[in-house]
């Protein structure tokens, strides 16, 4: 990390997006994470994705739990409201925030300890409910902030920095997300920005529960040989099933591909997810097959990445519980309070 303050002045020639912001307007405070931390690359990918999507930064609410990953929302989208909640419970707070105002974009940022260990229950239930959000897990297999204990995503047999082997079966959050009904599931690697940025863009455009499990090496406590979450290990075992290109509704698609090489998925908002197949037989619309595929490769020690599953007919919690289109936090007393005349009728019915 650096102690130098970021200059506030932007160079006048910096490119602006359609809503008039430069990429730097999407930055936040200077990261206090270790130099080389994978999480900082993810923050950069979030910044890039939001800038490219022409999102007004203040229309994003970023929520996190506790841990190194959960500190990161301070380091991007500095003009957005952020909420560093309690350990493992960000999903419920995000759910409540989303209920209050469905018009904002909700970004949940969490880690493997936060989501797979203490917060496994809330992780599962927020997906079941179909909360419209982008949930990014910055997955490094260890507790960084408490100095290197294993988390629940650490692979069985992987070694800690002190040489201890992990005996417990790992939790694969992407597989769990498939089981729990998430409608957009990606996995990526913090070191592969070309893959990660479009995945985040697609997730934000997705109108349902979107999860991206991002393997993000911990430079301080989990980047040694014997670790299965190190930069070297992940690079060697990364099996990308597809390459995603994200096209917002307004953009014309010009690139041509041969038949059978791409899959186009049109999302509810009109955006198109164009998937260039890297594994010919992989079909990201087949949830059951996706589960088997991910597990088969995991058994061989391979980390399957890319867009693993998308349901383009996804609907969200608000649709399921049939709430009004406006944000609930904007409803006036006239719309909420039935008034004294109705109360008198209720009184009469209780006599």
């Amino acid at each position: 990390m650096t102690y130098l303050a970021k200059p506030r002045l932007h160079h006048p020639t910096l490119a602006k997006n359609r809503v008039g912001y430069t990429r730097r307007d999407y930055e936040g405070k200077i990261s206090t994470l270790c130099a080389g931390c994978g999480h900082d690359s993810i923050s950069a990918a979030i910044i890039q994705a939001c800038w490219e999507l022409d999102i007004e930064p203040h229309r994003v609410a970023k929520l996190s739990g506790i841990g190194c990953s959960s500190k990161t929302p301070d380091y991007f989208l500095g003009n957005s409201h952020g909420f560093n909640t309690v350990h493992g419970r960000m999903p419920s707070v995000l759910t409540g925030a989303n209920l209050a105002n469905r018009e904002l974009i909700y970004l949940g940022v969490s880690g493997d300890g936060d989501s797979a260990s203490i917060g496994l229950g809330q992780f599962a239930h927020v997906l079941r409910r179909g909360v419209n959000m982008t949930y990014i897990v910055e997955n490094n297999g260890v507790y960084g902030l408490t100095k290197g204990q294993f988390s629940a995503t650490a692979d069985k047999g992987s070694k800690s920095k002190r040489g201890l082997a992990n005996n417990d079966t790992p939790i694969d959050l992407a597989s769990l997300a498939l089981v729990m009904g998430a409608t957009y599931i990606g996995r990526s690697f913090s070191g592969d920005k070309a893959q990660l940025v479009p995945l985040i863009r697609g997730a934000i455009a997705h109108q349902g529960a979107a999860v991206i499990d991002v393997v993000s090496p911990c430079i301080a406590f989990n980047n040694h040989s014997g670790s299965t979450k190190s930069y070297d290990y992940v690079r060697e075992h990364n099996e990308a099933v597809n390459r995603l290109d994200f096209f917002p509704q307004r953009e014309e698609i010009t690139t041509e591909y041969g038949e059978g090489e791409v899959i186009d998925v049109r999302q509810h908002d009109g955006s198109i997810l164009r998937l260039r197949k890297l594994h010919a037989e992989y079909d990201p619309s087949d949830r059951v097959r996706a589960m088997a595929y991910v597990q088969e490769h995991a058994a061989r020690g391979e980390v399957v990445t890319g867009l693993l599953y998308v349901d383009n007919e996804a609907c969200d919690l608000h649709q399921q519980i049939n709430t009004v289109e406006h944000a609930l936090n904007t409803l006036s007393a006239a719309e909420l309070c039935p008034g004294s005349a109705v109360l008198e009728k209720i009184n009469a019915s209780l006599r």
Binding site: D74, S92, G96, L99, L328, E335, L336
Partner: protein, 612 residues
Amino acid sequence: MQKIEAINDFVIKFANINGSGSASANELVARAILRMGVPVSPRNIFPSNIQGLPTWFEVRVTERGYLGRRGGVDMMVAMNAQTWDQDVREIETGGYLFYDSSRPLPRSRSRDDIHVIGMPLTELCNNTYSDPRQRQLFKNILYVGALAHLLDIDPSEIEKLFGQQFKGKEKLLDSNIQALNVGRDYAREHLKPIGLKVERRDKVGDHIFVDGNTAAALGCVYGGATVCAWYPITPSSSVAEAFIRYAQKLRIDPETGKQRCAVVQAEDELASIGMVIGAGWNGARAFTATSGPGISLMSEFIGLAFFAEIPAVLINVQRGGPSTGMPTRTQQSDILACAYASHGDTRHVLLFPEDPYECFEMSAQALDLAERLQTPVFVMSDLDIGMNQRLCRPFAWDDSVEYDRGKVMTHDALDAGADFGRYLDVDGDGVTYRTYPGTHPTKGGYFTRGTTKNAYAAYSEAGPDYVENMQRLLRKFETAKSLVPLPVLTAARYPARFAVIFYGSTSPAMHEALDALAEHGIYLNALRVRAFPFQNEIADFIASHSKVFVFEQNMDGQLTTLLINEAGVEPHSLVTVVHYDGTPITARFITQEIADRVAHLNVHPIKEDRVA
């Protein structure tokens, strides 16, 4: 033999087996008496079970409007062999035992000082009905018919109630009326008259008959709650269920048919309070309903809401604790757990409703207070109020009053150059301005976290920033004193040295006890505490009496502890009297305890004008 004689003032208790359909039959008796203009106060004493365990239904008939438990039973309707002995024991001397005489009653299992009324209910039922379920259900209606005759309850009132209950189901209506008449006819022909009677009066007035949980839910509808997140737990579940029911009628956008609120049944109490906090952070009025174990689970989050200063309303329908405790029994035993919920130095606002009317009023008020003070607010109901139907004042709402949304910095104020510091005390009352997420493109955004922050919500672990924040929170709590409901004084007819303090569901029994004591020349001033933090009036009241009895429905005297800790009260001036067996406190218990203690304090009432 002595015979209890009473008109419109007695206690009748039904001993049944749960799941046998008895609750609705017993409620019928209560409602019919109510329709005759005589106040009643029924209490359901039920097991944590669906079918087969003992359950009781106690009906206080009270022309004078005493709605608390009196204590003692004048007539027992003993329909449960499992609890026969204890039920028979409970009857007052000269009282009545009504039982199913289809099987002979061994003499040794009765008492000589009570009047035994046998009626062959099973036999009558078996002769009238062939279907086993009907035999069971109509047995209940048969005894209702017999009681209607014995107590002089107007059968037409019961028939009217049937008419409402079975509207559109004429077959059921007819068979119920038939069963009622079989019971009445038998009683008229075979049973001797008894000394307990109901006479028509006009004492109910415009009062309504409703349970506290329904009232609290309606209060949340009126108070503008748009998010309800909850997890089922006895005795609070019916708050959320009633909210859902009311919302389906009262919160529908007429144009789209969509709902103007969101209800989520969470996976646990951790999630339900998390959702409430998320919604409160984002500017929606949100509440949860729970009971003791839920509060324990929510504690970490409650601390976050306290420090991050997020409005949240928790309706705590208290039950017996600790641990799983007694889910279907009542207590006031979460006072300290809620006042200081969470780790670190926390203090929370508590409201103490006495009845369904106040459950309605205080739930709506809690939503205002939570936003005004940007903090969790607890409505401390309990099972006795929450799950029993109680006669109370009709709900009232002033249409001219706006919701108090608290200090919210707007887009325009930010544009006008307001100095926005999320935790900056610009008004000196400890309450700071907040912004809703999404308010302004470049101003007013902030990062919410627990303790490590300065007045501008920037990350800080500096001691002075921490201390400044804590001191401001104390100022805020001081401000809360001026906003929460004031205590209610019931002054004695004559100057009194002694006083009582009580709160919540103790109220109706206390008022009856105070009257009973006054009849015996013992006069006390009484103060009903309605909120924490305590106003100065409470300390002044205590200071102006030589002894103050604090009545509580918990073992440890939790409110007493809170008074000593927080109101600067001299501990020796307080005498805690507790009732914590899980049943609602009774007027007779209070009367006896006070009479004994006053006697011990060597005060002998001689003349009416120089008394305790």
